[in-house]
Amino acid sequence: MATFALVLDNLPIMLWGAAMTVLVAGVAIILGMPLGLILCFGVVSPKPWVSRISRIYQSVWRGTPILVQLLIIYYLLPLIGINVPSILAAILALTLNTVAFQAEIFRGGLLAISPGQLEAARMVGIRRWAARYHILMPQIFRLVIPSLVNETISILKNSSLVSVIAVTELMRVSQQIVATTYRPFEIYIAAGIIYIVINLLLSLAGRSAERHLEQGI
């Protein structure tokens, strides 16, 4: 009973932290989509140097731990004279990270579309970027929704790491509560449950988006 009361007492502040988690991860994912798409077209570019640079970017961000990326960006920005609040550093790090992963997801979708569709576009005079916008993108998004939901869930969970740079999201808030109440078990379980609930909602949203977009295919 006491446990229940303890969690209930701290629930409002934890939910506030959860909102911050959703904000940080959500902004990163949404910013990551257009950038990921551009990086994807960079990876498949016929120009060798564009494709090489894009791949190097991908290797760096997919090959290093997100915590390392986060700390480097957090400490690097002030060094080069840019002072931003830690929340912006967190969003920046998560965005740059998810861009690399989303580009790979989009590339998978791109490979599922027959190249003939682009040839048909060329033969009615549609330019490359217009074809990408009108023909490839709508199909890619439909194809990659499940993978995109996975990536969102992954970024949402990884956003717990930004607690190390003092962003008061769900994890940070939980740590603070534990520090004053000495009840880690109850508080961290409550935090875990909040993460699960958010992710379940995400999956549901993804599935309904899929169903919605299936119409017409």
């Binding site: 569709q117 048909a120 576009a121 060329r122 033969m123 009615v124 005079g125 549609i126 017409g216 295919i217």
Partner: protein
């Protein structure tokens, strides 16, 4: 100017690595002419068509569309690759119909037919739709505007492919084995549509295995083998009086396959449609 061919091909070669897919092709396609290109698989027919539309870069030689060089620019030091924009400009009056239709599955039939008009000719939506419906009417699909490609049969999809090309009002349409991916019973409707276009005087180049179609509709048949044009002429002459042993052999193979079908009492397959040559 009056006698300028719609397409003029000179000494065209295409090499894939060390393999020479086309060697020394020269061919003129004149306005309102229907030219069928036949030949065994791997003879370079499709490659020729793809080089003529510059979907495939050619290795040497020249392709001119209505007097303008396609894909390259003439300079003092030889041919230089042209920009995409200028390639599009030269190709503007060339339409293409593909073996696998290549429709855009996320768009309605009308969307498929009007996208080019809207994006490249900047025709306003309402006007584009009107033009699109007219093109669909020409292929007998005016009532299918709001369907999606996946809701149509293969034959209907290919007719949408034809309407998509027609909507741009091209001066010439290239057909790359337009019926090869179709079930036998669906071939007829596509060929009928093409016959109709031929009657209307649209310039057409058709790579095909449909000898019956070539015999009935073509003004000229071109026989290719090994990346070369072996023989060409009016269909009656080419089919009844082949000069080269290779064409003779090709026609014999085709005829014996036909007889085999007839002896079996099986329904005639696609190639037998209007078998007559």
């Amino acid at each position: 100017m009056a006698t300028q061919p719609t397409i003029r091909i000179r000494d065209l070669t295409k090499e894939f690595g060390t393999f020479s897919a086309l060697s020394g092709i020269s061919l003129d396609i004149n306005p309102s002419e229907v030219v069928c290109i036949i030949g065994p698989s791997g003879s370079g027919k499709s490659t020729l068509l793809r080089c003529t539309s510059f979907l495939e870069e050619y290795t040497s030689g020249e392709v001119e569309i209505e007097g303008r060089l396609l894909g390259y620019r003439r300079t003092a030091s030889g041919l230089v690759r042209e920009s995409e924009q200028n390639i599009d400009a030269v190709r503007r009056n060339v339409g293409m119909v593909f073996q696998h239709f290549n429709l855009w599955p996320h768009m309605t039939v009308l969307g498929n037919v009007t996208l080019g008009l809207r994006l490249t000719k900047h025709v306003p939506r309402a006007k584009a739709q009107e033009q699109g419906r007219r093109a669909l009417a020409k292929v007998g699909l005016e009532n299918f505007s709001d369907r999606y490609p996946s809701q149509l049969s293969g034959g209907q999809q290919q007719r949408v492919g034809i309407a998509r090309a027609l909507a741009m009002e091209p001066h010439v349409i290239l057909f790359d084995e337009p019926t090869s991916a179709l079930d036998p019973q669906l071939v007829g409707e596509v060929l009928d549509t093409m016959k109709q276009l031929a009657k209307e005087g649209i310039t057409m180049v058709v790579v095909t295995h449909e000898m019956g179609f070539a015999a009935q509709v073509a003004d000229r048949v071109v026989f290719m083998d090994g990346g070369k044009i072996i023989e060409q002429g009016p269909p009656a002459k080419l089919f009844n009086d082949p000069q080269s042993p290779r064409l003779q052999e090709f026609l014999d193979t085709w005829k014996s396959r036909n007889m085999l079908f007839q002896a079996d009492g099986r329904s005639p397959g696609t190639a037998e449609e209007g078998a007559r040559p």
